[in-house]
Amino acid sequence: MDSKKQLRIATRNCGFIDPENIEDYFGVRGYEALANAVTASTPAAIIDEMKKSGIRGRGGGGFPTGTKWSFAAANQADQKYVVCNADEGDPGAFMDRAVLEGDPHSVVEAMAICGYAIGASIGVVYIRAEYPLAIKRLKKAIEDAHTYGVLGNNIFGTSFSFDIELKYGAGAFVCGEETALIRSMEGSRGEPYTKPPFPANSGYWQKPTIVNNVETFANIPALLVKGADWFSSIGTEKSRGTKVFALAGKIKNVGLIEVPMGITLGEVIFDIGGGCPGGKKFKAVQTGGPSGGALTFNDVDVPIDYDNLLAKNSMMGSGGMIVMDEDDCMVAIAKFFLDFTMDETCGKCTPCRIGSKRLYEILERITLGQGVEADIEKLKMLAAAIKDTALCGLGQTMPNPVLSTIRTFEDEFMAHVTDKKCPAGVCTELLEIVIIPEKCVGCTLCARICPVNCISGKVKEKHVIDQAVCIKCGACIPKCKFDAIVKQ
């Protein structure tokens, strides 16, 4: 096992410097990229460097960052804005919080660089109010940057001035979508709107606005100090650099990892993650949170980059990776994510508002054993329709968990609807808890623990579970010393 598969660029300082001490950040060549930019370079040259590096947005969509910046730079306006999207909301994702709590200055510095490149003097960080420590450290970073003069008026003695303020999000998932985020910053409901106009042309208060994710920003000081050629030497042809992932779920080494693009799924799960605990078989991993999809044990050789994940009905997303093992039911997993998006849909467009509800209902029906074979086709059709017609990224990607699980686990869906069985043993309505007569010695332990008294049998006689009464709580299973009780 190669122990050095990770490469840390965005998280280069996390865990190594005191995030509340700006001098620590100076010590690791902090604010040098900004200094070089404003004193010795031009906005056009910086944007060129960004384009040359090939860096793409780390928030999910993967749009080329340099190109985005060039759109905003080309617009004439009395005011432009730089927005940092720190509204991290995917279940199981915490990359942005880690960066903001471990190295806030790298984000502050990169936002100022972006401001210089596009001609903006104001930056706004839209951050979840649920991240109090990240907010505290970010505020301190901004204050200290002011004190030392690397933020504020006439930065490094030039005519460039830049300031950053904070806006707090109330924790709506949809507000991570850039147009909804802008609406929310303006004090309106966090509802997305149709693009165009793109924020780079008309965004926050109808001014040209660049919205970039925390991780994208955190890469930029390193990219500019070491150069675009260095950055583009890492990763794959269309996805340069590294990506931070939060490994969670059924994995031994739960944690934050940063890996070069193009690393295979297997390397992430087994070499870095250490595989599933308890020797269980790896089944699938949900990438991209509720907007992403499942990569499976069939995909362990897939190199992870933006395009390969899209081809698998998933997406890079912001970097949550939820690992599932053989004990997880894929129908239940798809239902879990649909439950999340059904709650989080803003309700503005019909495909997302009603489509999510209908998808969820079908999935629920299947897990309850009331599904029919036609439901699977229905799921596919509805998912495709939602993908094509929903207004924003949330709606368009919401069917992904369904599509990608059906892609590989259609047999598991079929087992639910035709045999009324849940192969992973998760969907309780489809389970039977039975006593294997050959193993039962008639000790009566199970009958005594049963809360509904549905186990009958006398001492030293074979016991039987009355399926009509059993509530499938499973309390009897661990009680049996002879492993005679099983779920099936």
């Binding site: 990770q6 280069r12 996390c14 060549r29 003069g149």
Partner: protein
């Protein structure tokens, strides 16, 4: 302190920091405690206080404590990285108050590794 108005000013800060670091590395023990939200939740602050207290009890006076952000090892929080003078940093995980005190008694005092040692599993870009 003075404002930074030029690259030269910034370089001065960099040099000062490096000089300070070099001086520390010579004869000080650096204890770097991961204190992100999650590390604090799993007991990082307790570990830091216990180590401070134990270091004082043991009469080890050349310890410099610092806080940092996420060390990325969720599976082994709370984590602490200890750098003995002239040695590479070693990261210890799954600490609690007792483990933290033992770490001071053993590793800080005599360089004897105890508890869960987390191997370095990454290459870090250093600017």
């Amino acid at each position: 302190m003075s404002k930074i108005t030029s690259i030269a000013d910034l370089k001065k800060f960099q040099d000062e920091f490096k000089a300070k670091q070099a001086a520390t590395a010579k004869d000080k023990i650096v204890v770097n405690v991961s204190l992100a939200t999650c590390s604090i939740a799993s007991g990082g602050k307790t570990v830091m206080e216990a180590m401070k207290d134990e270091a004082a009890k043991q009469g080890i006076n050349n310890v410099e404590f610092m806080q940092s952000g996420c060390m990325t090892y969720c599976h082994s929080e709370p984590t602490v990285e200890v750098t003995l003078p002239g040695k590479d940093a070693v990261c210890f995980g799954k600490l609690d108050e007792a483990g933290a005190r033992l770490l001071v008694q053993k590793y800080l005092k005599s360089g004897e590794e105890v508890g869960v040692v987390i191997p370095v599993n990454y290459t870090r870009v250093v600017l």
